[in-house]
């Protein structure tokens, strides 16, 4: 009984923590970026302020927007939030982690994207169409790449459960493998594309011809925009947590409150490192042309497939 | 039967084959008709001899039919028709007379081989007879195929039919021979009348292919 309560507590805590941390991460990345560019940059809590301001504003909705347009932000937010809250962040062995394995998490993000792309087409403007079209095109390469990465991890860990994978990778007898290296690179590429970061997309741009994600949400304002922004930050957090819990799976196998604190610390450290790296990476390169993105993603897919095949071969060798 | 009678039958049958070759050789229409008359006459003789040898009197009827109808009536009728319809005297042949003769030789050889091969235990007279009959039939067919001229083809058909009668009479004691020869005569009569009625001058198929298509709408 106590275990159940504790489990529920941890699960709830996890949901709240990811929700609370996500904007911070975004702010942190922006800050580091600004510093790298020699600016002071906005304060870390700026994203919270933006969200609050947005939620207080009235929502301006295009005349011919349908109910789908207004429902989408909440659906996207919910989907991303649920996905994020099922990823072990500071503590593995989450209560409901078995309710959705890694494949299901990817699919959840997929549903979020599906509705967002639909919303982009709802008002019937040219830009919305551009955004949706490009988004689904890139996703059509990113998702198989992600599935291949899942295959790699699952074949090594013998499970598609993220917590199980993390646990197994935690006992460091997995050793270094070529496949894992490839998978890591592929995963990072996918993460960059999925979160619309440079070089695939620029979250800060409003240069019409290059934007993808921003074009879809172009018509949104007020609380709807807030929900979408939050969802975006959650997504970034989610991917970083995934990378963290798979490739640096230390400090998360624990259930005692002390260990949980430790885990929180470790997690924060990992996120900070990841965010910093991301910011530096983004500042160091330029955005690529839209139609070169497909090559980028194709490379990711190939890497993932290669990793899986290598694994099949090695599996057959031992 | 005696050696002599065998030789005579053999001679007559062989004669028929020879006359078939003469038919193949002809390229003048009247000459062709005359030779055909000879063909029928030889057949009549051979049938009569068979009738005598097998002492099967009913065969004499067949012989008579052959003599009267085929050797006299039909040729004269055809003479008339040729005159009436103003048919060319010259008979067009396919691939010339020489090759046709060679082909005829080959056919005779073929029929001899076939017949002597398959009729192991039949009596020799019948074997020879059948072999010659088959060659006459094949030569007749060959003639039908190589003659572009309607009369030539009719003659070919009739000579072929002579070969059949030869075979039928050669088959010892075969019943219905008379009926069959009568039936065939009717058939020939039909053909001759047809030629006359349908005004078939040069070929069996007066209408050329293009006209056919137009009539049948088989090509647009």
């Amino acid at each position: 009984m106590a275990a159940l309560i504790l489990g529920l507590l941890i699960q709830a805590l996890q949901m709240l923590v990811v929700l609370a941390t996500a904007p911070l991460l975004t702010g942190f990345v922006r800050k580091v970026k600004a510093r790298a560019l020699g600016r002071r940059g906005p304060p870390l809590i700026q994203p919270y302020r933006d969200l609050l301001r947005l939620t207080r504003k009235e929502a301006v909705v295009a005349e011919n927007a349908s109910w789908l347009f207004r429902a989408t932000p909440y659906l996207v937010f919910a989907g991303t939030w649920v996905a994020a809250s099922l990823v072990p962040t500071f503590a593995s062995g989450l209560m409901f982690s078995w309710s959705a394995d890694l494949i299901a998490i990817i699919a959840l993000l997929g549903s979020a994207r599906f509705f967002l792309a639909l919303a982009g087409m709802d008002v019937g403007t040219a830009f919305g169409g551009i955004g949706s079209s490009r988004e689904v095109t890139f996703a059509s390469l990113a998702e198989p790449a992600m599935i291949m990465i899942v295959f790699t991890l699952a074949l090594i860990a013998g499970s598609t459960q993220l917590s199980t994978i993390a646990a197994i990778f935690g006992q460091s007898d997995v050793g270094l493998r070529v496949s894992l290296g490839l998978a890591l690179i592929a995963l990072i590429m996918v993460a960059i594309a999925e979160n619309g970061r440079i070089p695939v997309d620029n979250p800060a741009t409003h240069l019409e011809l290059t934007m993808v994600h921003e074009a879809m949400v172009l018509e949104y304002s007020g609380r709807h925009l807030a929900a979408l922004e939050l969802a975006a930050s959650l997504k970034l957090l989610l991917y970083m947590s995934v990378i963290a819990c798979v490739f640096v799976p230390w400090g998360i196998e624990a259930a005692t409150p002390a260990a949980i604190l430790l885990g929180l610390g470790a997690w924060a450290a990992k996120l900070a490192a990841g965010g910093a790296l991301l910011a530096l990476f983004e500042t160091s390169i330029a955005k690529m042309r839209v139609f070169r993105v497909s090559n980028f993603m194709g490379a990711g897919l190939m890497l993932g497939l290669l990793a899986t095949l290598l694994l099949f071969v090695s599996r057959s060798l031992l | 039967m005696t050696e002599l009678s065998f030789d005579i039958a053999h001679l007559l049958a062989g004669g028929l084959v020879l006359v078939s070759f003469l038919l193949l050789y002809q390229d003048r229409i009247y000459a062709l008709l005359n030779v055909y008359a000879a063909h029928a006459a030889v057949l009549a003789a051979s049938v009569a001899w068979q009738a005598y040898v097998q002492d099967a009197p009913h065969l004499f009827i067949t012989a008579a039919i052959a003599l009267v109808f085929k050797a006299i009536v039909v040729p004269t009728a055809l003479h008339r028709i040729v005159a009436r319809l103003g048919i060319h005297r010259q008979i067009e042949t396919v691939g010339g007379v020489g090759p046709t003769m060679l082909a005829g030789m080959a056919l005779v050889a073929l029929s001899l081989v076939v017949m002597l091969k398959v009729t192991g235990d039949a009596d020799p007279l019948a074997r020879e007879d059948l072999a010659f009959a088959l060659s006459v039939v094949l030569l007749g067919l060959l003639m039908m195929v190589t003659r572009r001229n309607a009369v030539g083809q009719v003659v070919g058909f009739m000579s072929m039919e002579n070969g059949l009668v030869l075979a039928a009479t050669g088959a010892k004691g075969m019943p219905l021979v008379v009926e069959i020869s009568v039936a065939f005569s009717i058939l020939i009569a039909f053909i001759v009348i047809g030629i006359f009625l349908f005004r078939i001058r040069e070929r069996f198929d007066t209408v050329d292919v293009a006209a056919l298509d137009r009539f049948r709408g088989e090509r647009q």
């Binding site: 009235e58 937010f77 919910a78 549903s111 709802d122 169409g129 998702e143 018509e219 | 073929l110 076939v114």
Partner: protein, 666 residues
Amino acid sequence: MLTGVVLASVAAQLVVAVISVASGRRHAASPFVYAASAIICIAPMIALLSGAERGAVTLPLGLPWIGAHFAVDALSAFFLVVVNLGGAAAGLFAVGYGRHEAAPHRVLPFYPAFLAGMNLVVVANDAFTFLVSWEFMSLTSWALVMAHHRERNNAFAGYVYLVMAGAGTLALLLAFGLLAGAGGDYTFDAIRQNQLSPVFAGLVLTLALLGAGSKAGVVPLHVWLPLAHPAAPSHVSALMSGVMTKVAVYGFIRIVFDLMGTGQWWWATLVLALGAITAVMGVLYALMQHDLKRLLAYHTVENIGIIFIGLGLALAFRANGMTLAAALALTAALFHVLNHSLFKSLLFFGAGAVLTATGERDMEHLGGLIHRMPATAFLFLAGCVAISALPPLNGFVSEWLTFQAILLSPDLQQWDLRMLAPAAGALLALSAALAAACFVKAYGVTFLGRPRTPVAAGATETDRFSLAAMGIFAGICLIAGIFPGVVMDALAPVTQSLVGGRLPAQSGVAWLSIVPIEAGRSSYNGLLVFLFIAASTTLAASAIHRFASRAVRRAPPWDCGFPDPSPATQYTAASFAQPIRRIYGTIVFQAREHVQMPPPGSLAPAHFAATLRDLVWDELYQPVAGAVGIAADRLNRFQFLTVRRYLALVFGALVILLLLVALWPP
């Protein structure tokens, strides 16, 4: 007794067909005919659920010395549900939809007969009855395709369809000829006893792939499908796409899994490769379409590919004696069979509703229907989510199971299977993602945005019956998505009988989640995911509405400050698919873009044209047709010879035969 009930329902359907012939051209009859056939469809399902004992029935019909054998086993029971569920829903839909039919006398008689044919195929228990029912099914559906015979394309569609169907039936006929042997005992029981030599077994597999595969729409035998399915009235399209292709899958399973016994492993490579190619090709074709019904038809091809991937895996595992894995793969395939029959019928119903409301199938002439037909739009959206394999609906579950099966493939013995399985997985993932893209396009262009034509602007919501039919299927999609364990348990007897193993019972698992192999390995809980999403959506929405603003102001669209009133500036289906066409189409369809830019300063409009080639048709079917044409022309000369030449033919034949006699060694 179950088989009897099924046969009785078949007879009833045929009676309805005959009566509807009598009813002639009167529209008034059509609702009653459809209602009757729908009710008749329900009977076998009730008998099935009531657990009526299954027995074989032999009627003194068909081949005299064999008779017509019918039986219901686990496999046919499952497919009976698929067929009759689809039939019932289609009937309900058509009660409303049929009123708009221009020529009811060309549809009513064949519709019940079509259902009867499909039921017969599933319960047939000897080769002859099977083939008769199979071809009867094709024949009636052909008649339905030709219902709107005035459109020239329909004539072409019907022609290609019937010829392909005939070819497929001949292939199956040959397969059964091999299976039954020269003895001529065509009952399935006798066939199961026959042991085939490996070569013949491989031949039978190939023939089964040709026969059943062409009916199911496996690439490259799919060409008839996107022509025929859209040509039929929409409720028939739903049946053809949602149900008839499944009957074809049944035929394949019956022959390959049941009648042939455990086979060699290399069969799996063939099926797996074909399935993967079919899945990707199907969805790529679909992305290039702008005719709504044709797009859906191509998606049928894609889903058939997914099903065949599952079947191929099952074959591979079974050949390696991995019973549990085989059961998992087969369960995934059959689950997807059910799912696809549900959401594809739903989508075709929606397309039919749009068709009746606007008279348009071309998406480029539609748009903004979500305002005019809200209910249809909502239900169609559910279908789109389901077919795009997105949780928490059912489409995701079957694909998830397929992935789990693929993850078991490293334990296979054979190298090339081990290489093929992950590749198939990648292609499966690719096709899933592309399917999502395609349905964003389909839904976005058809229902969202602004109406592109007056007809689209003037559309009105469809009738109650159609909505009811769509609603029922959407509901089942959701239920199957959040309670997948029920379906998996229901499929256990089928896998037990076909691959000799079953998945662990899902009913006992806590929180109603599904655990195909073991808890530590993988699990999924549609219910919780659904609840989580629902809860957090409402939570977020209500919280924001409660504590922050709820005010909404309607305004003209922002559109980066250049709002354009003309709906022509919206993204079209073609422009939406353009990036995908560039990425994949350049190879697969040899897509080429031709741009004509006027010289600078000239006011002439620029022209853009994109050309696609259907390589399968051009390289595979055109040559055959051409060859037949040439041969026909050559031989046609024989119609126009002279009598002398004809005689020469006879003479030649005679001489040749005589030569044979002469030269034949005695």
